[in-house]
């Protein structure tokens, strides 16, 4: 069965559901959002990812209508949202603290928004029950928020914000208060619900794993700017800058100067060492000879071996300083002769007792000429 890939952002005819047009938001002297333009399409699961204070929550609050942009325009479904109050937008938000009404039962919390619409009684009951089923909360309908667990509260908050069938659902760090295991389960639940309801989700998170798991596209933000917007795979494999490469996952960065050589570049990274070779594969970044560059290599793309591997372009000798055993994976911290640290990750397919490397071992780290990404240094 052929399934078309969901990528409306590649289709020039597709109209975006949400448009930020040169949006700037200032709080006093502080610029929270700096002249940002971006498009979010219908049915996307769009993640705003960044460290705290990067402006991601401000972006979301402007969409909800709690903040107004200082300049620029926000359009939802082609309509300018300037001056439209939060209660007049077809947008609902799931709050980080959940903001469940403590004096109302789970049922009444979910019905709250529908009652404001003046929905008919039996229609309303049917809708609330549907939401309770969707979030598997039927058993807890009569309880008050303080009588249920954190995970259940999170689902009530989700059910309440979905009840009005908004065009756009905003999720502010929705899983922040859950423990890791529950968070992972809930991520899949969220994706499931997003697919079932066909609602556009915009999620704000500082957890890159979460963003990668749930999102169709991730916008990496820093200091009020969106640095890169791409699918999780592209963000990971083809980061646009050292910042993005470093923020998403683990990465080795080797600085050096570039020299055009054959199908790519040779990167001189340390006096007296053989340069590292990098093969271009349709990347747009093409530095001039002698430019400062950074080579970014993911630890899992670095192999580690006791002897110099044959037929590999880049191999450097080093010494194991540290081993981080993570169960399924081990990360080796290898100090190269020049003092540079390289992290190499291997899957622990063997049992612990039969691992081949230990501390202070002399090893070779190597990677292929297409494993790394060349970035501006």
């Amino acid at each position: 069965m052929e399934q078309s890939v969901f990528a409306p952002w590649l289709n020039p005819d597709e109209k975006p559901l949400i448009q930020f047009k040169g949006v700037t938001k200032r709080f006093g002297d502080f610029t929270a959002i700096d002249n940002q333009t971006l498009n979010i399409y219908a049915k996307e699961f769009y993640a705003l990812l960044g460290p705290s204070g990067c402006g991601k929550t401000t972006m979301m609050r402007m969409l909800a209508g709690f903040e107004q942009p200082t300049s620029g325009k926000i359009l939802i479904n082609g309509k300018d949202m300037k001056g439209v109050a939060p209660n007049e937008r077809a947008v609902n938000m799931m709050f980080q603290s959940y903001a469940l009404f403590p004096h109302l039962t789970v049922w009444d919390n979910i019905a709250f928004g529908l009652r404001r619409e003046g929905m008919k009684k039996d229609e309303l009951a049917a809708r609330v029950d549907e939401m309770l089923r969707l979030t598997r909360l039927a058993k807890f309908a009569k309880r008050k928020p303080h009588q249920i667990s954190g995970g259940q509260r999170q689902r009530v908050a989700l059910a309440r914000s979905l009840a009005k069938a908004p065009k756009l659902l905003l999720l502010d760090e929705p899983l922040g208060a859950l423990d890791k295991k529950l968070r992972q389960e809930t991520q899949f639940e969220l994706m499931d619900i997003q697919e079932k309801t066909g609602t556009t989700f915009v999620i704000v998170t500082h957890d890159q794993e979460e963003a990668m798991t749930v999102a169709s596209r991730v916008a990496v933000m820093d200091e009020g700017r969106v640095i890169q917007v791409a699918t999780p795979a592209d963000i990971y494999e083809a980061p646009a800058s050292v910042y993005v490469a470093d923020f998403i996952g683990d990465v080795n960065i080797i600085h050096g100067s570039a020299l055009k050589a054959g199908d790519g570049y040779d990167i001189a990274w340390f006096e007296g060492r053989a340069p590292l070779h990098y093969k271009r594969e349709g990347d747009s970044y093409a530095p001039a000879n002698g430019a400062r560059v950074a080579l970014a290599i993911r630890p899992e793309k670095v192999s580690i071996s006791p002897e110099k591997p044959a037929g590999v372009t880049n191999a450097i000798k080093g010494k194991i300083i540290d081993i981080a055993y993570l169960g399924n994976l081990s990360t080796y911290h290898v100090e190269l002769d020049g003092g540079q640290m390289i992290k190499a990750q291997t899957a622990n397919t063997r049992r612990l007792s039969r691992r081949s490397f230990t501390w202070e071992d002399e090893v070779w780290v190597s990677w292929t000429d297409t494993a790394a990404v060349l970035l501006e240094g």
Partner: protein, 296 residues
Amino acid sequence: MRRFSLIALPYSWLVLLFLVPFVIVLKISLSDAALSIPPYAPQLDLSAGWQGISDFFGTLDFENFAWLASDDLYWKAYLSSLKIAVISTMLTLLVGYPMAYAMAKAPPEWRPALMMLVILPFSTSFLIRVYSWMGILSTEGYLNQLLLGLGLISEPLMILNTNTAVYIGVVYTYLPFMILPIYAALEKLDGSLLEAAEDLGCSRLTAFWLVTFPLSRSGMIAGCFLVFIPTLGEFVIPSLLGGSETLMIGKVLYEEFFNNRDWPVASAVAVVLLLILIIPIVLFQRNQQKEREADQ
């Protein structure tokens, strides 16, 4: 053992300063008035041995309580006290709620100062503050002078020595007790609840009615009891600001005690007042208990 000694302190406090005086008052209420020192009989005479004790208990009776029931002055005074207490509690709530709300909405750096302003009147004697209201409300008082000066009235208003003056006095005196619990409830209200309400389609006003108001209910209830309970037995305010029409049980009690020197009847009045007050006190405790449970 440690736990026992911890709770022993408050309990012995209660026994010494509440239960013992109450038993004494109860005993006096069951005695008869007499021209003696102290002005009631019988006295417990332990030197007469068992005979004296049984004589003593034999002469105690409920005569004074029967007297309270038969003379309509007393139950009218109780009812009128209840009415005045209920009305002034409602007035205090009406005045106090907006003040507490404004305090809770004020910028955080302002709040300690506002709190100080609410508590500040306590630094002056209660009696002096009530006396100063006499200066404000009397026919030649500041209020009348101001209103006459502004030309709003042509004759001075008779406020002092009326129930209106009592209401003003009670509202003024007990306002902090209303403001503080309501403020405490409003202050801990999570602002994101209001945003959530707006997000779900409420206007600011409906968000207030559906979220803020119900969530401050426990504060309102606490405030109402804290005003109602002392107002019911209030003596100083009605006797200084009230007039002949102001019938309050605290005043009746005072008159029985000091003017008629009828200690037994005064004690009976006090015992009945206490019994009436137990109901709101128990309700108040329940409210506090519920709130504690909700907080967990």
